[in-house]
Amino acid sequence: MPWRTTAATALTRRSTTTSLQCTVGVMYSLERPVQGRSSCSKDRLGRKRRTVVSSLTEDEELTEILKSYSSNKVTTTKYSFLSFIPKNLFEQLHRFANIYFIFLAALNFVPVVNAFQPEISIIPILLVLAVTAVKDLWEDYRKHKSDKFINGLVCEIYSRKQQMYVDQRWQDVHVGDFVRLSCNEIIPADMLLLYSSDPHGVCYIETANLDGETNLKQRQVVRDLPRQGSELTPENFHSRIECENPNNDLSRFRGFMEYPSKARVGLHNNNLLLRSCTIRNTETVIGIVVYAGHETKAMKNNNGPRYKRSKLERRLNVDVLWSVVLLVIMCLTAAIGHGLWLRNLKDTSFLIPDTTSPALSGFYLFWTMIIVLQVLIPISLYVSIEIVKLCQIFFIQNDVDFYNEYMDSRIQCRALNITEDLGQIQYVFSDKTGTLTENKMVFRRCTIAGVEYPHEENARRLEVYEEDEAMGCSHTLKSRASAKSLSCKSLSCNRSSVSLHTLTGHSEGEESPSPTLPRHSAFSSPMEKDIVPDPFLVQKLNCLSSPLFLLRDASMELTYIVDFFMALAICNTVVVSSPNQPRHVVEVPEVSRTPLKSLEDIKMLFQRFGLPRFSTLSSPHTTESPRSFTRRLFSRGKAASFTPSPSPTPTKLGTEPDGEPNLEASILSIRPGLDGVPGEDGDQGYEEEGERGSWKGEEDKMLHLNPGAWSGLENSNGGEGPPSEPRADELIYEAESPDEAALVHAARAYRCTLQGRSLERLLVELPGMGSLAVRLLHILPFDSSRKRMSVVVRHPLTNQVVVYTKGADSVIMDLAESPKGAEQSDGRQGHIREQTQKHLDNYAREGLRTLCIAKKVLEEEEYEIWLKRHAFAETSIENREELLLESAQRLETNLTLLGATGIVDRLQEEVPETIEALQRAGVKVWVLTGDKQETAINIACACKLLRTTDQLLTANCDSKEACKALLLELRAEVERGEAAEGTSGFTLVVDGRTLDFALQEDLKGDFLELSRRCRAVVCCRSTPLQKSHVVQLVRDQLRVMTLAIGDGANDVSMIQVADVGIGISGQEGMQAVMSSDFAISRFKHLRKLLLVHGHWCYTRLANMILYFFYKNVMYVNLLFWYQFFCGFSGSVMTNSWVLIFFNLLFTSAPPLLYGILDKDVSADTLIKLPELYKSGQNSKAYLPSTFWLTMLDALYQSLVCFFIPYFAYAGSDADMLSFGSPINASALLIILLHQVIESRTLTWLHVLVLVGSALFYFSFTLVFSVVCVTCSPPTNPLGVDKLQMSQPLFYGVCALTTVLALLPRFLFHALRNSISPSDTLKAALMDQLNPDNYCRRMQHWNQTQAQSKARGLIINVEDLDIKIPDFILPKELKECRAATGSVLS
């Protein structure tokens, strides 16, 4: 026994054990079953899983295991105080350039080859290393500060010593600890939810810090955990948790918990509270930490800024290699020259006698020359490029045009080193939804049971909104904004908004996701909420409670309608909250749970009435008498009056045989809904009385039919209304996707209101029936492979198990295809399917997003069987996802189609203009979307991707052979079309299936050839994987620069594959943003980003790199020419300090400024003339020819710069340094003035830096020549420059050299600019005109451009509206044009 005590003492965490605890520990250790330990050690060997037990455990083996997990202390810093220098050096030495220079520095210490004093030659590399080290240190320090802050946050951990929860810092949290959190606290580590103060064992978390999604997510206490009335007592927790090893998948968590009783229960994502999320809406939660610190999912996902290598840099590396070749050639020349020279010499007085052979000396000299000419390889270039890019990013981030007022967000640059790639994009791949469109889904129309409800009023309402927003500063926006600020203030709980940035220790350089406040009601702007119901549909729904309703056929339709809206309301994951407590979910009130249970007769009625199967439904309309139907209706009236509250009155009403009061009651339940819609819209500016008139009329008619209704309404409103009715309008729906929100709002417009949600129940208010509690059995969440989601509920009225499914029309249509017992119903269902399909096609043509709604009734046995297998899937740890998918697919069969919805997703502002600009810029725009073909074409048309002059090519085929044939045929057509006049381009539309074939190895060539000739390509029905394949194919096969832009998780792979990935931080979470290189908030920003910043960044960087090469070659060649006059001995005519500093100090700042600020054309002109972008696309600024031309110029300049002083001083008594002095000075002048010639803009900053550099050089050399008495042997500069600069000859030589050296380039520029100016130059010339001329010229340009493009078609530049004769218009386009005219833009 004593040994146990000591062991327990030793193993207790943080060694604060007291004797009291020891005794407790002994007790526990005695209690623990021995087998548990052995099994865990077995698992531990495998190490495929992680075992977590309570940290209070006494088991030494388990404690050891817990200790082996990393603690919650995060250090995102790379270095510690001690390790900084060695580690940073080590990292820097990974760069090739640095190794090269260290090698050179080391070489200089070898006596036979050394060129300078060893100390001097290490200066450049030290300087470069130091600059980089300082940068790294600064970055690291910032990280350290944020780490320290985060580690120091406080949370409550259960302490065994005090037997209670005590405050501890985050860094002291360990795996196995029990953490108690209260509302609005941030979760310190990934923990398993063990207890929630919520009676249902759920808690809500907000993951905005993690993924930017602001909607609440529900988490659930581990199932079957013995429910304790009070809080969970950590001492009594003896279960063992087995879960997977830490990974970065935020949406997956697998494992199981083994109770002491050996019972196992599966754990999944729903039980896990993730680090850096915030607890909402739940008073207290307790969890056990399973992953801590760097092993948390949040940290695993935090992979810092992205590093890509830009195209320009790849090109640059080639040229650096050329420089190396040049260097080797020069050194070889010198080495051979030296060898030959030595061989011809005999006894000399100036040679130091030694025994080395000329060949060996030549070999030594080779290395000496490498040291002397080292500057040829531009080391400082790499550092300079980094600095320039950082500044470019600074400018991009500070561009006020990228600021989005509504979201208060700027552009985020996540990749720091591909700015210039923005200027070379040739292909843009765009997502549609949320990228081109707003992703603000608004319910537009629907079809139920084969009947279309056009919702004309709704359409008109949408137009009103559109006009409002088109006006720019619409009051709608303003009022929205003010409402926003109001809601900010009304937030009761102080929302903590520690950004993801700080919590996960993000590296800086990226903005934290926008403050969550403005977005908290993201999917519920009035436009999305206020749906005007279709009068006919309302009428039909009203029939539920109207005595006039007698048509029997319609009654079946009515079941469809009710089910349809029921599905809209509940088949989702929408969380309901009320606005006064924005973060508080409206729960299902306990009281309203089972009001219907007691009313057996009503239940029976609905069972019959609401049966989905036509086998049973088709009979009633022949057998049922009108009387019985009326009775049924009356009874429904009863139901309605019962449900709102379980007060004693309904019972009384229900037992009353008379119909009258019931009717009144049912009208009553309709009223609030009717009231609500216009009431809320009152201030939103669509109070066109006429339009509302018809709707009102309907209402009046109805009321008129029930004269007693008004009084009844008033009465009962006072009596029993309040608890539920006023609330209905104020509910806030927080949905994961905007579609869901739109549908829930739509259902609400028809008074099928989702009123609350808890884990097991949904509260739905149905017209004429009041609030019903629906038991939620399962949610089968949406995934992209199934393209649908389902809920399994127990129907409140029929008490059957019903599956409601909603999903993409293609899949639902297929699933609804073969009802198994459908002999009789076939006709009916077939008819519905046929009609619905027709309507769907229409919707798509209108550009609406379509969703199909279906349901299925499960037999109890059927459900039991499924449930068993589903439970197995849920609890399994290995491949749970696959099993769940399979399970879902098993359930979603033989669906009954209820109807379909059409949702409008409006185009974002300026999308057509942006696309047009991109196309004019020579960028090919492809749209990759998961939507239907018709929708895609329609949107493409609306955003001017498809011009009316374009010829549309569609590729839909079912087999590979057909696909091949089609591709060839289309290609032939394109070739014919290219030969013929009249069409401006081709647009290819491919659907997903065809794309699959086309992407296969043997067809991709044909596909590319075809698509290359098309101006635009639209891929519809494509999966995320296909998107990335397409991007990859185009990028790799055509070797072009690609850009992918998208906003959703389905675009992530495409964004990652493309050369430049752009995320739109919009409505759909942050996954796209997290994986992107740049994140913008609107599609229109792409225009300025590419056309202006891309162009600038590219030309700036390209010019700067060329200039760097020029500068180095020019300077190094001076030293090389000297070798011909010093016996190739590696002598230099310059003081070694000046030589080293020449590149590092005297001429380093101007190119930087040049790379940061140079501006060839103004931003305005670049936007107005997108054609200018083409120069970057074709890499005009940095072609190999440009490189070699620059090299030649450098060679010429160095020749001039060397030989003019040479001839001027030849034969004179000039010593080496006096000879070098004018050479250096003129080289400096040439290099600086060369830049002036190359610069397109000179600001006062340029002047400052240029003059500063020159002054710096002259003052440095002067001072150096005065104070340096014995320093820097053998090139002691004492007196040299002082004397030289006092002589007129010096200035005479400098002036002549400078002029002669710069003459060719000066002349070349002047001639080229006069004789054949580039587009860029012409634009720059236009910039200098006065505004009037500028406008005139701009128009002229645009016209000529358009003419050359459209081959004679007249394009009015003013409104960019293309006027063309109608006969060219293909049929589809004409239609889509008409449709877009009315609906979209």
Binding site: S349, F350, N398, D399, D1213, V1236, L1296, F1306
Partner: protein, 364 residues
């Protein structure tokens, strides 16, 4: 609650009681941040660069002419005394050579000046094919020793090897440069029309740079007695006498001997001249060197034949531009003319193309 306090202090956001922040992220709309700094946009076209060419032409041509005339006005006389030809008086001396020969070989070269040298005449010795700029040669010196540092005097720098020590004795001055110091003695005689030889007085002071003589080169210690100052050192191997016997004048002896200083300033190119003596103008009436016959008497010590070097003596006057060199003047004139010509060409081009740029017609 901890998070909101963080918000307030870390981000500098103004935290309103409700918890929201009212600072927005809108970038400053400043000229610099929006890249709208006022800028001068030089666009080089024929029209704009035209004036520059003419201006350069107009400035350069006169300068060139001035330089050319100046250079032409400089009187320069050069005589090669290497003695490679059999006919040369110094042939014999050049044939028999050893650094350490005790018997000096002398030769006399007669020459005549066609024109009188009016102002101060600078007398140079010139060497050809002598690579004083060879890297290892240039390095082979000890600046500290020459600056009078006594430790360096006794322990010459490694760079001086193999001329740092001779038989364990430190060499002063050490190194290859000093060791190979030019040691011919040149004397100039004017042959009077009467036939009498008049020795022309040669100034041997003021031939070195002031900074070199007074700052860079210093004798070791404060000891005026150079013999004791250089105690413990030995002469360079090729020298005939130690460094403290270079001259009798204490101001021109030891390391501060001007001939030595001039030699130590290594020439830039393998063909070079070094100032040997200055012949000062006596008065305004008589030219420094009148026209007539002269004799150059050479004490021939310095070997150059082994590496095919040449030795010359140059007599030259100088101008503000230095010695005689027509190159710069010609170059200026040429460049000026080319610029002027290009200016004309550009004018034509400007007339041909420039007008096109001014119309609204921009060709695509």
């Amino acid at each position: 609650m901890m998070a909101s306090s963080y918000n307030a202090k870390e981000d500098g956001h103004v935290t309103v009681p409700g918890g929201g922040t009212i600072q927005n992220k809108k970038p400053d709309n400043t000229a610099f941040k929006q890249q709208r700094l006022p800028a001068w946009q030089p666009i080089l076209t024929a029209g704009t660069v035209l004036p520059a060419f003419f201006v350069i032409g107009l400035i350069f041509i006169p300068i060139g002419i001035g330089l050319y005339v100046t250079s032409n006005n400089i009187k320069e006389f050069e005589i090669d005394y290497t003695g490679t030809d059999m006919s040369s008086p110094c042939f014999n001396c050049s044939q028999s050579f050893s650094w350490n020969s005790t018997r000096p070989c002398t030769c006399a070269l007669p020459f005549s000046l066609e024109q009188p040298f009016e102002s101060n005449v600078f007398m140079y010795y010139g060497l050809s094919n002598f690579y004083q700029n060879h890297r290892r040669y240039v390095k082979s010196r000890d600046d500290s020793q020459l600056n009078g540092d006594t430790t360096s005097l006794m322990n010459p720098s490694k760079e001086c090897e193999p001329y740092a020590r001779n038989e364990k004795m430190p060499i002063a001055p050490c190194g290859a440069i000093a060791n190979s110091m030019f040691n011919d003695t040149l004397d100039l005689y004017y042959i009077d029309p009467n036939g009498t030889r008049i020795q022309i007085p040669l100034m041997k002071k003021g031939i070195a740079w002031w900074t070199d003589k007074h700052v860079k080169f210093r004798n070791p210690g404060g000891n005026p007695n150079l013999t004791s100052a250089f105690q413990g050192t030995t002469k360079p191997i090729n020298w005939r006498k130690p460094v403290y016997e270079l001259d009798t004048d204490a101001e021109n002896n030891g390391f501060i001997n001007e001939d030595f200083i001039v030699w130590m300033r290594t020439a830039a190119l393998p063909t070079f001249r070094k100032l040997y003596r200055i012949i000062q103008k006596k008065n305004n009436m008589t030219p420094t060197l009148p026209r007539g016959n002269y004799t150059l008497e050479v004490t021939y010590n310095y070997p150059v034949r082994s590496f095919e070097g040449r030795k010359r003596v140059i007599l030259s006057t100088i101008s503000w531009m230095g010695g005689k060199n027509p190159f710069l003047g010609i170059a200026y004139i040429t460049v000026g003319s080319v610029c002027f010509f290009l200016g004309v060409v550009l004018l034509i081009i400007h007339h041909k193309y420039g007008s096109r740029n001014n119309t609204a017609d921009i060709p695509n």
